[in-house]
Amino acid sequence: MRKATKSKLLLCAVAIAVSVVTLLGQNTLAFYSVSSFATNVVTSGDIQLSIIEKMGDQDFPAGGVYIMPGSVVGKKVMVENIGNHPFWLRVKLTNGIDDETLSPDMFELDVNTEDWLAAEDGFYYFKRPVVPGETTPRLFSQVRITGEMDNSYLGKTLQLTVTAHAVQSEHNDAATPTDVVGWPSESQVAE
């Protein structure tokens, strides 16, 4: 085949090939490609309480109070839910002088049995969950020192220690508060 004819044929083939490639390429080329990151955050809640101890309108003295047999010590104990989630609540009272824990028989408390349940384990259980922002009704408002205390306790300082335990009430229903699951152990205390 003559050289000139070969060149013409080659040119035609190249032109057609370029046309076809351009045509096919139209629908496969993307205009833009974009990529971005999103940082998504999960946070967990907690339950928080605050024990309120009052002597009249004042805060109960941190150092305790001087006592005599037969004394009546005015002390109001309430608990406030200062968190964002409701909880079941139980409270324990420990009375002592210096390092000595005194027998509960030496004291009489005017326990509010309408809202609190005295259990055999020594705890007082609030009968329903405490909602966020709520302060419970008083557990008791006074402590009377019975005659069981002899003269060796004269001039001593009485400490009334309140220990509170809380466990979430969401997904933790129970017929009575003593049946609630998840109470912390004695070592996990709030004073």
Partner: protein, 264 residues
């Protein structure tokens, strides 16, 4: 007059307070929006922990919670393009996040599908390790993702007040649309398909239907043609190129022939 103004102001303030939406306690949807022209994705609503946070419903979680987050991915780009959107999980951003998120189960699925794309501990990449295509979206088109977080009731006390951050990556490819051959649904953004039929007089009618939402245009007499202008332009351009090249070659040949005659 003063009293009237004061009273009116009080009424307006009360009305404003009533009209203000209640937020915080209610579930909130999240959005991933592409606005087009190679702009970034826009992530909403964000939070005080991250501007791109898509988990507004997963805050302050407690043991026993099972929470759902709806994320809507939307293409707001120009109508001349459609986009293919992909996502993948990078995993927890640090060791502390990993420890916390490892306690929680996460499920991710398209709202219109049954099988999840991802079902594992929240710090894992699992089914989202590689890019997963969420869909092909025309302008205005959306795809919904449902994300579920399950918090075990046995979650330990040590995980109170914890923060876990999980990173996802989104990407897309813009693809131009040939308007003569494609249409998109103005109702849902999905691609529409052309239908034709002839009446008793032989007149051809055409209409477009969306298989996704059922929207359809009214049948109208078919006019014009469907041929691709681009195709014929390219062919014409190729022919012109060949013609010009052949012309140039012929001239060169004639010139060299003339030079050959001139030589003794």
């Amino acid at each position: 007059m003063k009293r009237f103004v004061k009273g009116l102001a009080a009424v307006l303030c009360a009305a404003l307070l009533v009209a203000l939406p209640v937020t915080g306690a209610l579930a909130q949807d999240a959005n991933v929006t592409y606005s087009g022209n190679a702009g970034d994705f826009i992530f909403k609503p964000g939070s005080r922990y991250s501007l791109t946070d898509l988990f507004p419903n997963f805050k302050d979680v407690m043991p026993g919670d099972s929470l759902t987050q709806r994320i809507t991915v939307k293409n707001n780009a120009d109508k001349k393009v459609k986009v293919k959107i992909y996502m993948r999980s990078i995993g927890a951003i640090d060791a502390e996040s990993k420890e916390f998120l490892d306690q929680l189960m996460l499920t991710v699925k398209r709202a219109d599908e049954t099988n999840p794309m991802f079902l594992a501990e929240a710090d894992k990449t699992a089914g989202l390790r590689d890019w997963r295509c969420l869909g092909l979206l025309y302008s205005g088109g959306t795809v919904d993702l449902d994300v579920t977080l399950d918090v075990p009731v046995t979650l330990d006390n040590m995980f109170q007040q914890k923060i876990g951050a999980l990173r996802w990556q989104f990407k897309l490819e813009e693809i131009p649309i040939d308007d003569a051959r494609h249409r998109y649904c103005s109702n849902c953004g999905a691609e529409m398909y052309r239908h034709t039929c002839r009446d008793a007089n032989g007149q051809l009618y055409e209409w477009w239907e969306c298989d996704h939402c059922g929207f359809a245009t009214d049948p109208s007499p078919k006019t014009g043609d469907d041929s691709s202008v681009a195709l014929w332009c390219v062919v014409a351009g190729g022919c012109v190129t060949v013609f010009v090249l052949l012309l140039v070659l012929r001239r060169k040949k004639e010139q060299s022939a003339e030079e050959g005659h001139d030589e003794p």
